[in-house]
Each structure stands twice: as C-alpha cells, then as structure tokens.
Symmetry: C2
Subunit: 619 residues, 2 copies
Amino acid sequence: MVRPLRAIQPEDDGVVDDPKVTLEGKDLWEKFHKLGTEMVITKSGRQMFPQMKFRVSGLDSKAKYILLLDIVAADDYRYKFHNSRWMVAGKADPEMPKRMYIHPDSPSTGEQWMQKVVSFHKLKLTNNISDKHGFVSTTILNSMHKYQPRFHLVRANDILKLPYSTFRTYVFKETEFIAVTAYQNEKITQLKIDNNPFAKGFRDTGAGKREKKRQALLAAQRHQDEQRLAEHHGGSKHSRGPASVPPDPPHHHHRSGDPDDEKLLDVVGTSDLPLHPHLPHHLAAHHHHPHSAWFSLSAAAAAAAASTDPEEAMRRRLQGSGQQQQQEDSSERDANSDNNSSCSESVSTSTTAFRPSTTASPGLKDSLGSTAGPSGQQHSNDYPSPNISVGPPIHPPPHLLPYLYPHGLYPGASGGHPLLAPGPPLSLFTGAGHGGPGMNPSLLFNAQLALAAQHPALFGHAAAYSAAAGLSHPHHPHHITASGSPTGPLHHQLKTGAHRFTPYTLPPPPQSSNSLGGSPLGSAFETVTPGSLHNSTLPPSTGSRSLSNSPTPKQSSPPPPPLSGSPPSTADATPATPTGGSSSTASELKSIEKMVNGLEVKPSSDHVTSPSKCSDDVK
Amino acid sequence: MVRPLRAIQPEDDGVVDDPKVTLEGKDLWEKFHKLGTEMVITKSGRQMFPQMKFRVSGLDSKAKYILLLDIVAADDYRYKFHNSRWMVAGKADPEMPKRMYIHPDSPSTGEQWMQKVVSFHKLKLTNNISDKHGFVSTTILNSMHKYQPRFHLVRANDILKLPYSTFRTYVFKETEFIAVTAYQNEKITQLKIDNNPFAKGFRDTGAGKREKKRQALLAAQRHQDEQRLAEHHGGSKHSRGPASVPPDPPHHHHRSGDPDDEKLLDVVGTSDLPLHPHLPHHLAAHHHHPHSAWFSLSAAAAAAAASTDPEEAMRRRLQGSGQQQQQEDSSERDANSDNNSSCSESVSTSTTAFRPSTTASPGLKDSLGSTAGPSGQQHSNDYPSPNISVGPPIHPPPHLLPYLYPHGLYPGASGGHPLLAPGPPLSLFTGAGHGGPGMNPSLLFNAQLALAAQHPALFGHAAAYSAAAGLSHPHHPHHITASGSPTGPLHHQLKTGAHRFTPYTLPPPPQSSNSLGGSPLGSAFETVTPGSLHNSTLPPSTGSRSLSNSPTPKQSSPPPPPLSGSPPSTADATPATPTGGSSSTASELKSIEKMVNGLEVKPSSDHVTSPSKCSDDVK
DNA sequence: ACACTTATCACCTAAGTGGGAAGA
DNA sequence: ATTCTTCCCACTTAGGTGATAAGT
C-alpha cells in the first residue's frame, strides 16, 4: 500500500514508524458481533471474553510506546433484548467517567510490543459505582448500554509525555458490545461457553467447540428447538429465566448437527437482520490539535507540580489546561477500514519535531475514505482501517482527560482533600449519576494515571499525570447533545477545530433499525431505533484554548550545570571489608547499596521481642 | 503509651498522625526466624512465604499515604549452611540495585489502609539479573546472602511527593532471611509445608498444620532424629541433597508427638543457639535531611519535565538534584522496639509544615534507647519499635534513589535514549555484578518509579519520578567507599545531618556468632563469623556532597502564578441533551463523556469488513 | 565430590465462567 | 408478570509449592 506520510511525533527520533494494528481473534469477535456481543458486568468486575488482544507491527523498534485501551459508550441509547433482538429502549443513562487502561507493560520499545500479542484481558468491566478493586483495572459501564472499546498507540517514553504525544487510535467495530448483568441472547451464551476455556464446564461434550452437542444432555430434546429458535433470530427471548422450565430450550447453542461447530454463529439466525448496513454514525472523532498551547501548559503544570504544594500545582495545571484546552483544529477524521475497524491518528504538532497538521497519513491502504486534514472530519467509511489525523496533541488528552479516577488516588481527586480545580471533583461520580456540566478535568486525568499505575512498568505516569492535569480540561467538550455547544473549559482557546472530542462516535443511528451498530459484518446490533435521539454528531472543530498563563517556558528552572562526574565513587562509605570476598569494586558496590539503604531503621537492636510493638508503641 | 510529638509532614493537613504498624503473623515469622528463615529465589521469581503483611493504625483517616517495601542486604557476608547452621562464608557478593516495591493500592487514605491488612505478598524474589517479568514486582537477591525487608510508610498524596515526604520506616527483625535457591534447613522446609497453603500437597496427613505428623510416613523413623538434630541447631547439614537418601531425616519437622502442632517450632531445636543476643549491628540508619534544597530541585525538575523535550527535562532534573543531593544532617538514628522491630521516621523539614529536626518522636513506647537528634545516630537497641528521626526528606530519597530500574522503562534509563545523567546508567547492572562507583542516580530513581508502576493505583508516581530524578543524584553520594567523602550531589544544602543514608544497617555483626542476625527471638541466624569483615558501620554523617552545581534553590522554577479561577467549571460544555431520559444534568454528564471520548475514531463506517485491515492498511 | 542452581512435576489454592435461584 | 441484578455453585484454567532429578 501507499505509505502515507507519517506524521512525526514529539518523541520522534527521526525514525518514522508506520504502525499497523490487527485485532487478534478477529474471526471470533466477528462471530460474536454478528449475534450482538454481550459482555457481563458484575459488581466485582468481569473480564471481557473475547479478549482484547492486538498484534502490532510497523513500530520503530527502538522507540518507546505506551499502549492503552478504553471503552466508551457507542451511542446514546439504552437497549433491551426483545424478541430475540436488541431494541433501543430509550435514551442512555448517564455514563460514569471512563478510565483509560494503560497496558501494564507500557513504556516498552516498539520491538517489545511487536514481538508478542498485546493483551488487555486484565481489564474488568463492572456496574459497581463504588468500584472497589481500587480502580485498578476496572471500568464502570451501564448495563444494557452499548460500548465500543478503543485501542490507543502512543509513541512516548513515559506517561509524562502522553499529553504531548500523538495518539493513534484504532477502533475495531467488531469489538462493540452491549453490557449486561446476565446474558440475554442464548447464542451469545453458547458462543462464550464454547470458546472461553473457563466455561468448559458448561460444554455439553466437554470437547472444545466441536462436539459440544449434547451428549451430556440426557434430555436432549431441547437442542433442536434451540437451533430453530436461533435461526429465527438468536435464542428465544428470555432464554435465561425459564431455564428450569424447558419452555424453549432454544439454544443450548448449535443444533446437534454440525454447522455450528466451526462457525457456531453461522447458524445463528440473527442473520435476518440487516447486515453490513452502512451506518450513519459519525465515524471518527479524531482530533488533531494545536500544540504549543498544550505544551506551555504542560510545562507550567509541571512546574506547578514541582512547587511545594502539590495541590496548588494541581490547580494550576487545571487552569492551564483550561487555557489550551481547545482542540482547535481538531479535525475530526474518520477513517474506515474496509476491515471494519477504523483507526485515527492524531499527531501533535507542537513539541519537538512533528509533521504537524494534516499530513495525517491517510495514506494507508488505498483510496478509501482516508484522511482528512486536521480540521475537518471525514466520514468516509471504507477507509482503510487506520485513519490518521494529524494535529496537535490536543486530541490525545481527550482520551486521557476525560477519565476521572475512581478512587481519587491522585492529589487532585484525592479522597479527602479537594485539591484541584474548582469544579466539583468527581462530580460525575457524585452527581447522582449524571455528571453535571462542570466536571473537574484534573480528576479525569488522575483517572488516567491510575490506569497507568495499574501494572508494573508505569513509571513516567505520574509525570504524565501532572501534565495531564493541565490537559484534562478538554474533557467536557461536547459529547452529549448534538447541540455541539462547547461547554467545556476547552473552548476558550478553541478556534481550532471542534475541540471537544466528539466523545463517542455516537452518531445517532439513523432511525432505521440498522443504523446503530450496523457493522460491516452484519452485526446483530442492528436495532430498531424508536425515535431519533441523538442529534447530529458533533462538529469537528471547536478548540478550547484558554487561559494558560505562566509562561514557564521550557527550561524554567535552570538545570544545574550538568553534573560532571560526581560518581558515586566517593570513597567510602563502608570502610574496608575485611573478608575480602570480591574486589574492592565489588565492595564498593555493596557500600553503595548500603548507603542507599542507609535509611534503614536499624533492626531493633537485639532482643526487643515484639516487633509489633513498633506500631503500638508509637501510639 | 506516651504520645510523642509527631513530626509534621509536608502533606500534613494539620491533623497529626501517630502511625503504628504491626507485623501480621508475627508468631509465624518468629518460628521461622528461630530456625533461620530461608526464602527461595528462582529465575522466574518466587513469592516470600511467610508473607509480608502489616496492620497499620494511627493514621490520619483523610490523609493519603503511600506504603512501600524493599529488601536490603542485612550485612556484608555470604553464608553457607554447614552442620545444621548458617556460617559466614566470606564477604558478600555485590548486590544488584534493589527496587522499592510500592504497594499497589498505594495512594490511599489512612482510612483505607487501616481497615485492612496491607499485604506485599505479590513481591517476588529472584536471582535472575535479567529480571524478566518487567521488574514489575521482582527484587533481585544474591543466593546465600542475608536480607532484611523494610516497610515504609509515607504520607503523600502521590508519588510525586515521595521525595519531599517523610519516610517512616519499620524494620521487623523477624522478617530477616537468607535467600536460597533450595532450602538448606529441613526444618524450614517443613515449616513452610505446614503453613503455606500451596504446599499442602506435601503435608503428611493433609490436615493443616496439625497432624502433619507423619502418618504419611511409612518410614517414620527419621522424625525423632530430626528433632534431635533440630535441637542441635536446626536441620541436618545438607538436608536437601540427600533427600533421596535418608541421611538424617531430621525434621519432617515435629516429632510425631504433639508439641509442634500448635507451635510447630517450639520443638525445633535451634533453641540452643543464643537467642535474644543483643546485636552489635548498627541499628538504624535513618536520616533526616535538609529539605529546602530538595524541594527546589523538585520544582525545577518538574518544570524541566514540563518542558517540551522530556529528555532534556530529565537531564535538568538530574542536575538539579545534584545540587541538592546532600544528605547532610543525616543523623542516623536507631530505635529498637522491644518488639524486635524497629521503626525510624525521617521527617522532612522542608516544604510545608514540619516539625523539623530532631523532635523525632522517640516518645514511643518507653524508655528504650529511643531517639536521637537528627545528626547523631544512636544505636540503642532496646528502642521501642518506631524510631523517629526528624529531618529533611533527604533521607527518603535514599530509599528511592538507590533503586535502579531494570528495564529502563523510564526516559532516563529508557532503552534507546540515554537521556539523563552522565554516569553509566545501569552501571550497577552492567557492571559485572559489582557496581562501580559511578552509578547513575537517575536510573535509580527510575527504578523506584517502576516499582510504583507496579500495580494499579500508582498514578502520581510518574511525577515522583521526575522529582526523583532530580533527587536521584543523591544516590551516588556515599555509598561505595567508607571514605566518607561526600561525592553525591546532595550535600550542598546539607549541614543538617549526616545526609547520606546509611544504606543498610549493615553494622558488621560483632564477630561473635550472635552478632549477626541475633534477633531478640533467638534466631537461628546467629552465625559464626569467621573474621570480622565489616568495619565499623558507616559513620552517620558523611554526606556525599558533590558536584551539584546549579544553585537552583528551593523553588527554582517559579510555579506559574497561581492560575486564578479558570476552574473546570467553565460553563458547560454540553448543551442540552435531547433525549430527556435523565435530568438535563444527567444528559450533560453523558455529553461530557462523549466529549471526552470525543476522540473516538469513528468506528469504521459500515461494512468495511476486515478490521484487521486497519493495521495492514497503514503499512 | 561438592555446592549450589535449574527445570519438571504432582498437588493445591486463586480466580474466571455461566447456570440457576432468589431479589428487587 | 417482567426485567434485570445479585449470590452462590460447580467446573476449569492460572499460579504458587516443595520434591526431585539433572545441570554447572
């Protein structure tokens, strides 16, 4: 294919990358999608079954990347499973702030990412607002609502840079799903049982997918019934309830026949629904943004962070972010891939090198509706998978910013101290489920950080957090109504493009039944939309710029002269080591260690016996 | 008990806390300690068995705390298990840089920490330098060397503040252990089997501890032998090797009798070893440090971080740190608790509030050798558990700084780009096992961050990292040689106390057999020290000063003027929400969400079928 | 032989699954 | 009666153990 121009990124070291991302287990995902994927959400958090795994290539082997995943509402509706199909059942309930899940191995080199499949299976879905688990890797979703997972690829050495980095976002429509507390479509249930190793216990035969036929079934009768039902359109209505009663044992999945074995789904009836309908959805909502502003902010934020009072810093960051919020030229781009998945890439112009604007590399693939400049957005559907929109990093932040963090681990959102911004922190959470307009950006950012913290290699994250804080503002941007009013703080600067990130793709399904989930694959999601609820999708541009103030140019605090050697070698620390085991060097090493550990509190000297006393004593 | 004055910390919100920490499962730990605890280390990493769990109380419910654990060399020797006892076998091999393991739930409120036992069981021990696992939660140890785990309690909202925060360190001597690749003392093996649920399969009877007696044993003969041996001093010499051969099946732990049931160990013979010997060790090595310097650095670092080029920022931070590296008044204090565990607290004077110097709150408990001012160090052994030394945060850094990070996740150490400091990054690692003098501080810090990243809630960490970077310099400071030359950057400010952290407590065991591990409990660790290897423990003060150059006083980079309002509240963001479902508020919330997600890349429009194409196309 | 270190294995606990019954 | 939501259960896959044999 054509190698589109590659936007250079801040982190760019001159080596251009041309990332390609493929969804692992695409076939399986498609089977589910055809039936209308359902994901169980529980109080304690449930993993997604068809797991979110990606294979990445085309990265700069030496460069470092941060990979993230988030799950956003796919539209503005609430659904109900009726007559074997998903129907729109009203407007969506308010969404809880979503977290950006940072892959645990995150700051890793392109080489490392490319050599293995990147899995986000640890992420859990829950409907529990209290979100115990310490928001570690749990995302709060609304049951009976449709969601779309998004994969983000960012070239950055550490999370600190996330805000200034280009976010390449990949959306695989096949991974769209409806969150449920209990499966509605029996066919989905059977598909899960047949493919999820942990559900082997429910397979009829015990064999993998193959012979599940119900040998196990003593009352084999029902199977056939199920099959038929399935063909009708998926399992019977409330297949679940009457389990005890064999009303219509419809599913049990595949008919004992064979068809399903391989393609389980083929058999499934949902087929009658319109397949491959072209959706009216707005597609992409990628933005590219101006950058300089962000950077300055970030710098300021960083400085603030560095200041004595963290909270104050946080506040500053927020403010700063407000200034530059805009997404400016957030050209919303959509790319469609004939794959069914779309990818957008927002390159940040600012910072270091870059290939600012638009050059997005729509190049890809072929002619599909690729590309668009930073500022307008395009909706070509057939776009090759990755749409690339170039623009300042603003866009990226959106991903990050929006996410509040649950526990308020961070300073800003921290539990007790209302550090940050003025807005009602966690308002989203607290706000009876409906986040009022004024959310606190900082909080959002924190959320992101939290995610980062998730696993081991997060490091830089914290830094990112500070920076992020500044950026966070953007979050409010549009989303909700189609009104497109840029309420969020972001606006200020704007001008650029619709700064507000078009939250979800949410384009309202074209009333017809197909519009909603209409995936190329002929997803069962085609639903009958009662009324047209959503308005137009958000307009692309609308930046939010704003108040950044402090100049805090790059090197605000003059870095001390580069330390020359000051090698640890200082001599000493622990004197000679009699024993002579290793060379002096070795001994030194140890010394160093010691010094490091120097803090050691001295093990209680001898026989003080109760260790626990320490604490007790204190008190 | 007396409520000692509580040093106020930077994060202090006025509410003083008086933390108490108790080791969970202390009884079990003591049983192991009496026999000479052994922890298996494997290539892939092995968890510690008696798990490191603490119960914390006395915290400020609303304040946020970060809890950490690290494992440092307990002394400078190498051991060998001979004739049923651990003997010193020479000088210690060089230690790999240790990582500070940040508890996954870390930035949590005092309330959260206090309501449940805090477990660090996820931490793994390995002897694999390559340390796969992405240094997530693995610490590299040397087999046949003795280690001492340390618990750190820090009042800080996020890792960013770690450097400026007070570190309260708690050391429970009972948790001291010798790393092995295979168990040496059969009694330890049996104790593990009897108490570790995962080893139930090896229990004779299958019952919990109780009847393990060897019903299983057809060849019951050996038990008694074991008992005797144990009494002699623990299991037979190389109990392991001859497993097949029943040389002296000594243990199998308890004799079939009953004694051990409850106290398994009581029976154990190690008792003959000197128990509660008072150790000559240097006990604590807490330091308090000046602070202002640190802070300023951090600020600068933050600013730098904020700057456009992350790497540059990194460099700056390092430099800055260099300036203030010193540890100055690192008064080394020791506290002993009659508990057997000692706790030290280093309060940072700098930043915000504090109760600077010495006031340490030796108060505790009773008269034991409590307290000491910041600068001198004391060795009283009987100190109540928590020793509190007040001082600038300098000390804290020590904990942090020293740890390099394995993968080089961070910018500084990042794989490809040598960002940071001049020193040979990772030198410790690379350096044939013996860290040469010139280690790169920044790297160390990164390590810490990495640790932080470990789990979910890390967030702020990154920030910490930046700050840390600045701080990192201190690391070189002393460590190596005992010469006491203050090489490290820290010095500048110093004056305060011996700034350099006395790494480990390492006080050389007083040659006599007891000196080494002599725990109050009568640990089997009392070993026969061949020659006196270590010299005196490090003198408390010796900062390593060094080259820091740039003045970068406290708030070097001026925090941007506090942003005035620009609260996120900015009006609104999303306008009206049509659908009406929830109140307008609710709708707005959703809007926000959308905005946030705004970025959405637009799901491929319709029927593009192959999602994977996205990536492929790109290329 | 010695003195560990590494890899494999059987045995358990921890945790992910959908079913079903009971709640709301 | 519906329509979800919550709990608990049996089953299966991860992972943590020390034993054991083989490697260095």
